[in-house]
């Protein structure tokens, strides 16, 4: 257990255990890493397959798009390798035979176990032509298509590929989430606020929040010191906060004039004034203060 201080809140002795906070985040037990492909037994949101015609340019483009889509979206992605494992090694040939016909490609997507299919076509006629076609299984129709040409030998960076996905896939696919789990021995009945919004009384089920983002977590309970911290929540990660709320300051409510530090502060003020006066009268200063004023003529 680590003990930390949180300035701005009266929590001098709050004990906190944080697992996987910003920079040192590690997934909680059981949480999948972000780039790992999902198990083949479940359905996929999007399958990605690649077909080529007379070009060896941009090798592994479909797999790169799958990696980027897994990082950038909340969709369950079946990349070309996943698709072949699930639907057989002839799945690429099946896509080629479809010749871009949406109902046919929807059938391939069903074989893969995906609700939609993104076909990446690479061809070459002088310049390299890349075409992307998105097909929905439900409607058995195309949902989008774009093409891009580039000189042979020129690469494509990840930002460009992500840009293509953003133009083809629905906007809400790019909303990512992380999990904020709050625990602690003496939290029962405590009010949990995230970014000032009450989220209920502890114990709470883990909160699914948009990520990446910084959240202000505050936990309060009558008779206890409040707890607060900033949580850096990363996509597909779980941050587990273990908070303890020690009893509130027993000295609270003592009048100011009965507190020794108030009198000491007054004494300090008098001493400082005397010191400054003496210093003012001292000859040969080495520095001077600049008094700045702003004017608008």
């Amino acid at each position: 257990m680590r003990t930390r201080r949180f300035p701005g809140l009266a929590t001098w002795t709050v004990g906190v255990i944080v697992l996987g906070v910003a920079g040192v985040a590690r997934p909680a037990a059981g949480a999948p890493p972000t780039t790992q492909a999902p198990a083949l037994t479940g359905a996929f949101d999007l399958g990605i397959l690649e077909v080529r015609s007379g070009s060896t340019e941009l090798p592994g483009l479909g797999s790169r798009l799958a990696v980027i889509a897994r990082k950038a979206t909340s969709l369950r992605i079946a990349g070309p390798d996943d698709a072949r494992k699930r639907a057989g090694t002839d799945v690429d040939a099946a896509v080629a035979r479809c010749a871009g016909e949406a109902p046919c490609l929807a059938g391939v997507a069903e074989r893969v176990g995906a609700r939609s299919l993104l076909v990446v076509a690479v061809s070459q006629l002088g310049d390299v032509m890349v075409g992307l076609q998105l097909v929905e299984v439900g409607s058995r129709e195309g949902a989008g298509r774009l093409a891009h040409s580039l000189p042979a030998g020129e690469g494509l960076d990840d930002a460009q590929l992500r840009g293509w996905l953003e133009r083809l896939l629905p906007r809400n696919a790019f909303i990512l989430y992380g999990i904020l789990s709050i625990g602690g021995g003496d939290l029962d009945g405590a009010t949990v606020e995230v970014d000032g919004q009450p989220r209920g009384l502890a114990p709470l089920s883990p909160l699914r929040l948009k990520a990446p983002a910084l959240y202000q977590l505050r936990i309060t309970k009558p008779g206890r010191k409040s707890f607060g911290m900033t949580v850096d929540l990363q996509p597909e990660r779980t941050v587990e906060v273990l908070a303890s709320l020690p009893p509130a300051d027993p000295g609270a409510g003592t009048p100011l004039y009965k507190r020794p530090w108030v009198w000491a502060a007054l004494l300090a003020g008098v001493a400082a004034g005397t010191f400054a006066g003496v210093r003012w009268a001292t000859p040969n200063p080495t520095t001077v203060d600049g008094a700045v004023t702003v004017t608008h003529p």
């Binding site: 006629l125 002088g126 310049d127 075409g131 195309g142 949902a143 989008g144 298509r145 774009l146 093409a147 891009h148 040409s149 580039l150 000189p151 030998g153 020129e154 690469g155 300051d249 027993p250 000295g251 507190r259 020794p260 530090w261 108030v262 009198w263 000491a264 502060a265 004494l267 300090a268 003020g269 001493a271 400082a272 004034g273 010191f275 400054a276 210093r279 003012w280 200063p285 080495t286 520095t287 001077v288 203060d289 600049g290 008094a291 700045v292 004023t293 702003v294 004017t295 608008h296 003529p297």
Partner: protein, 493 residues
Amino acid sequence: MQRLKEFRLAGRALVLALGASACGGDAALSIQIVAPRMAELDPTRDERLTAMTLVGEERERVLADEPFGPGDVTATLPDLPLGFRGPLRLDLLDAGRRVLGLGRATDVHISLDQSAADRVVRFHVRKPLAYVGSAKSISVLDITRSRSEDFALTPVPLSRVTALGTPRNGRSVLVATDAPAELYTVDTQTHEVSRLMELPSPVRRIAVDASDRSALLVHASGTTLLSLEPGRTPIVTTGIITSDPGRGTVAAFARGGDSIFVVGNTGAAYGGTACAALSTFQRRSTKRSSPAIDLPFVVSDIDVHPTTGNPIVASPCRNAVIEIDPETGAELGLVVDMPGVSEVSVVRNNIVALGSRTGASGVQELQAKIWPGDTSVTIPWPKTRFQYRSDDPLTRIIIEISPWRAEIRDLAVGPELDRVVMAVRFDYRATSWCDGATAISWGHLTVSLTTGTVVSYVETKRDTVTRSCEITSGVPPTAEHEPTSVAILFGGS
């Protein structure tokens, strides 16, 4: 236990109070920040402002660094060193230490042995604004911002602009127009325009000497030297200096401002290579100080070496910025070795060389190198998008094309060596697609040399032959005009 804690607190308060009084100096130097009246020109009201620094400019020595927020009208800069002499610069900074505004004061002496009036130091602060001139108006850009923020300010309504120049005092911007050829000033406090005089012929570039006493107007085949007296109409002191003959004349003041280097490309052969002629003039004389010197290469730009004071010229054919001996024309050395270099600019004792070249991937890109050091930046020029016309709303065949030719018409480098603003023309051609559609795009481009990215490209004019495609990138400008000139304010003094 609780008592003990409170006594500890009391002790800490006592120490802090004594320490604070011990650090304080004598409030005796008055620093006035004179800021523009117009809110959008005033850096002291910029909502991003967090701090101010006072810097001794000769050695970049920071004398004070204190918090200062938007709308603050007073502050204290403690512990300024008594006895300091020299030029001072006051920088207004945001949280990321970007300079939002700056002002200068020359020949400052921090001393208590002066009258109260002499202890007042005034800084006329200005934002580092870029002015982009065109036939339509002067666009005003806040180069500290990105395109998504309040990047463009209210334009200055002065049309037919051919050249811009910024005196070092930052109080005004000099503007040359054609049809008729005239010279104007724009007050940087209010952006009010004043006509100064009629000019003998259209001007392509303006340079102002370091003391703001003279302005050099570069015409197509020569230069005019003006005497600038504060509050008076400029006087033509030398008429047109021709440089025998001078196509594509470029010129620069020597460091002290008393000599002027003029280079014109003669078009004559010199050992089989087209060459240029370098002339040196004295500021107070119409005669050349020595015969014109042939240079065995074409020159596209000129400035003055910040250390040696010799002219440095950009030569696209020699792929270098070369230092020249003004007496003999001898090459003193390659200052920057860079294929395709066409522009050279000296900013704060740094030499910035820029040009367009063909990159490794076969597309045209901007390259910049900064001397001293090995800083080299490559930035792809903006692409344009052609889209095949189609009745099918789901079919979007889009071709992205880089320009096959890029022309920098004028540029200015910002005071922090980060942002560069350029007046540009790009030529696009879809060779394999769209039945050979073409487009020519004019506009002003802002790039960041720090991040190596395009901050903004504002297209102001477009000519297209789209054939089976249409252009999808950008918004076609409503009132078309070609940017001609760029200048950036370096604060006031």
